[in-house]
Amino acid sequence: MSECPSYTKKDFVSDQEVRWCPGCGDYAIMSSIQNVMPLLGKKREDVCFVSGIGCSSRFPYYMETYGMHTIHGRALAIATGVKAQNPNLSVWVATGDGDALAIGGNHFIHAVRRNIDLNIIIFNNQIYGLTKGQYSPTSKKGAVTKTSPQGSVDHPFNPASVSLGSDATFFARGIDTDPKHMQEILLAAYNHKGVSVVEILQNCVIFNDKGSDRFTNKATRDDTTMKLEHGKPMIFGKNKDKGIVMDGIRPSVVTIGENGVKESDLIVHDAFSTDDVLAFMLSRFNTEAGFPLPLGVFYDSKKTTYDQDLQELVDSAIKKSGKGKMQDLLNSGDTWDIK
């Protein structure tokens, strides 16, 4: 195999004019992904981006790799075919909250449970942008949109819980306003063998501007979010004085120094845990009840992958009985001669 050339970001920028609204969070995500690409050690021709429909799904056109912009909700099923056919490819899926979790919900849970080695980036802006402002499966209950003028009566999905509930072997969350952190988790997602779900909270400037404002603006973000780091205590807050402890079987938010709480009392994050109990608990943090929104890699575990297992079935069958020939097959079993 020839060596991978050394690339720069520019090598991954296609000649297509980018058509997202000015100020859209998608620009930051694209820039982060294009920054990460040269770090993969993967040849450009071995990278394929697949998307469905929605603003985020324009993504493949802008990447100078192989790519498919497909139909609404089906990106994961199509990407499954790409990866299953050629496990050597690095396959990335750019999808949105509607594409992945509404019309594509069935494909999402099944791709995740199969643990096929795809990198799924969910651009979660909690709104339908391309159809101009209807509520999505991640819109908050009560969200006032064009199709919910009195406020949505739908309870939303939590992408982290849906992923982990479908046995995801990797889940991470990032924010479009923090590209450096985004690049870290994208790289971790690539390095994870098996399905990787990355949720990016993405701002839709037109239809849901500042939807995630309290997690992104400088004044509040340190107190409303918590960066997860493997092996480090769960600590957050402007003054790094808040943290998470276990109170019986439930997590609880505490302030270091108050009521005798020490940093050593805090839960230590274990992204590589042998089970997803801690990750699932993190996914259930209720930000309305004072919990911080966890950011970073929740969970990164090992399991055999669909694409490799399928390839192994083919390889071992050929190794065992040789590459099958049709003429031999047709002549096998019960045959008879007519003279």
């Binding site: 296609s14 297509q16 040849k43 450009r44 021709e45 071995d46 990278v47 394929c48 697949v50 429909i53 493949p60 056109y61 990447m63 100078e64 790799t65 192989y66 790519g67 498919m68 912009h69 497909t70 139909i71 089906r74 099923a77 199509i78 990407a79 499954t80 075919g81 790409v82 990866k83 299953a84 056919q85 050629n86 050597n88 490819l89 069935n106 494909h107 099944h110 399928l310 079935l313 083919v314 071992s316 069958a317 050929i318 065992k320 009985s321 040789g322 590459k323 099958g324 020939k325 049709m326 003429q327 097959l329 047709l330 002549n331 019960d334 045959t335 008879w336 001669d337 007519i338 003279k339």
Partner: protein, 613 residues
């Protein structure tokens, strides 16, 4: 001993009675003795409907002959009925004067009532037109297996082999191949059961021999068919192997994305066996994912296919449109069944023709072909793949439950000669003068676009469902471009006509009546037209396999006849299509009962239409 040209036997019983197996063994034994054979299983959509009821009856019909056989036969000459319900469900098909072999152990009052009879049919006189052979099949089977270490219940379940033994003797079949088969199948797993099945079969043969006075025995001479090596094949297996053959001939891996659906599931099951042929099968989460994974694999360079039946094809519609837009090779197999909605899952129909042609949004042309009989599925699956690869297009292959489940002998082809290498556009990729790759630049003859697959350096490109700019494949909303691209996609499919054989006729090119049929009705229309011609009628048969586009000479063929008759298992879709394309005033003969045509019915219609010329 009576000499017969052909005989039709129907085995029937509860769906758990093993009638499919009995029928298969009987037809295999017959084929090995040199008869031509055609079979058709007829089973309920409920796996195990209530025992002893008409709803739960499962049947298997075999036609064996000393000359060419092309259908499983109109009317059974012999009916084997394993219980009262089986008799009730099947009697109306049996030829008057035919033989009924009934298991009298299951004609007690309760069973008779459950079957929906008010009186015992064996005593009421309603079987007076038939020869009835009453055999205590259940009790004789149990008695024959005395001493074997099996429960009475298990012993009773060997009764299908007892019934098989009966018919083996009556029709002079050799039981040796079945004995070998039983041993191969059961000896390792359950040697006692292997012994029991063989003992039951032999007991059935002995019973028939010792009560021989009551039965005629029949002899069907070996058929005079083309010499060579033969094997049995069902339509669905034949389809699976045809796809594998195409992949081998193209030097490409085969990928199947599918979802189980009656009556197409067997193709997925069959392909799942052949990992050593490089076949990857993905049983996806639904029909849509089935075709979508295949589209992904097609982009990645496989010969990709998906298999389904009518309702599944409906779900795949949007993705088929994507394949049209992406211009990727893809084979979509539709084993048609009775519709609409869930319809008649286990019954046959030809009512998805319009769905295959038009069931998508926008102007969305693709190729549609159809197979004629079980062993033709191999050839047409290869053909569908050939056209998909040569023209970079999705192709729909229509088969149906009748030919998919039916089986017949097959003269094994010499694949090197008959199924040569297939062309595709992955090789010899070129770039334009400015060094850019143009994914929608076309072959001037076929209009196929190049197939650059991921992993090929320097040919990175994007495809998608949005309208493509001519040549570059970039997204384009330009009005003129949409016209150009729509025309090109249409023209490309029209040019497929350059690559398919001209239509052949059975019979003269001029005459009174032209019968035009298509797909899985070939056996019946062929036999009916042949018989009419024997009677001196000026009738010819034009049986279509290439439906869109059609062979170039169809228009000329239609002009040679005073009348055009289109028999179809739908309400007239091909008839409408012909009238639309050729204004030929075709008339339809339409049957939509979930059943195949009877040769005798077709012959009646042909004669009636000739009388009213």
């Amino acid at each position: 001993m009576k000499e017969l040209d052909s005989v039709v036997i129907r085995f029937s019983g509860d769906s758990g009675d093993g009638m499919q197996l009995t029928g298969n063994r009987f037809s295999d034994a017959s084929a090995l003795m040199g008869n031509d054979v055609a079979t058709f299983p007829d089973y309920p959509s409920e796996i195990r409907a209530p025992q002893g009821t008409v709803a739960g009856v499962s049947g298997f019909q075999v036609n064996i002959g000393s000359k060419e056989i092309s259908t499983p036969g109109d009317e059974p000459d012999v009916l084997v009925a394993m219980n009262a319900a089986a008799l009730k469900a099947n009697l109306r098909w049996v030829r008057k004067g035919g033989t009924l072999i009934v298991n009298i152990d299951v004609f007690d009052d309760a069973s008779i009532k459950k079957a929906g009879y008010s009186k015992n049919p064996l005593e009421s006189g309603e079987l007076d037109d038939y020869k009835v052979l009453k055999v205590p099949v259940s009790s004789q089977t149990i008695a024959a297996l005395e001493g074997l270490d099996l429960t009475t219940k298990i012993k009773e379940r060997c009764k299908n082999f007892y019934a098989l033994g009966l018919t083996f003797f009556i029709f002079g079949r050799d039981s040796e191949s079945t004995e070998r088969w039983i041993n191969e199948k059961f000896e390792k797993k359950n040697p006692v059961l292997a012994k029991a099945n063989i003992a039951a079969m032999k007991a059935g043969m002995h019973y028939a021999e010792s009560t021989g006075v009551q039965i005629s025995t029949y002899n069907i001479k070996s058929a005079t068919i083309k010499s060579g090596k033969y094997r049995h094949v069902s339509g669905n297996v034949s389809t699976a192997w045809g796809l594998m053959q195409a992949a081998e001939s193209a030097g490409l891996p085969l990928f199947l994305g599918s979802y189980p659906i009656t009556p197409a599931t067997e193709i997925l099951q069959e392909l799942a066996r052949f990992k050593n042929h490089g076949v990857k099968t993905c049983q996806m989460e639904d029909e849509i994912a089935g075709i979508c994974s295949a589209i992904g694999a097609a982009y990645t360079g496989a010969l990709a296919c998906t298999t389904t039946s009518g309702p599944g094809l409906a779900l795949k519609g949007e993705a088929m449109g994507l394949a049209v837009m992406l211009e990727l090779p893809l084979v979509i197999v539709n084993v048609q069944r009775g519709g609409p909605s869930t319809g008649l899952p286990t019954k046959t129909e030809q009512s998805d023709l319009f769905q295959a042609l038009y069931g998508r949004n926008g102007e969305s042309p693709l190729v549609v072909v159809a197979a004629t009989r079980p062993n033709d599925c191999f050839h047409m699956a290869y053909e569908a793949s050939r056209l998909a690869l040569e023209y970079m297009t999705p192709v729909v292959l229509l088969t149906d439950g009748y030919i998919g489940n039916g089986a017949e002998p097959w003269l094994i082809p010499n694949v090197e000669k008959e199924y040569p290498a297939l062309k595709h556009t992955q090789k010899n990729l070129k770039k334009s003068a400015n060094g850019k790759f143009l994914p929608y630049e076309r072959d001037p003859k076929t209009l196929a676009r190049p197939w650059a697959i991921p992993g090929t350096p320097g040919f990175e490109h994007r495809v998608g469902g949005l309208e493509k700019q001519d040549k570059t494949g970039s997204v384009s909303h330009d009005p003129e471009n949409h016209q150009v691209m729509s025309d090109i996609r249409n023209e490309k499919i029209a040019r497929v006509a350059d690559s398919i054989p001209l239509q052949t006729l059975e019979g003269d090119s001029k005459g009174d009546l032209l019968v035009v049929s298509w797909g899985g009705t070939y056996g019946a229309t062929h036999m009916a037209v042949e018989e009419a011609r024997r009677q001196g009628k000026k009738v010819s048969l034009c049986h279509l396999k290439y439906i869109h586009p059609m062979p170039k000479n169809i228009g000329d063929i239609l002009k040679g006849f005073k009348k055009v008759l289109v028999p179809e298992l739908n309400l007239g879709q091909m008839k409408d299509l012909l009238n639309m394309k050729f204004q030929c005033n075709a008339i339809g003969y339409n049957q939509i009962k979930g059943l195949p045509f009877k040769i005798s019915d077709l012959l009646d219609v042909i004669n009636k239409e000739l009388e009213t010329l």
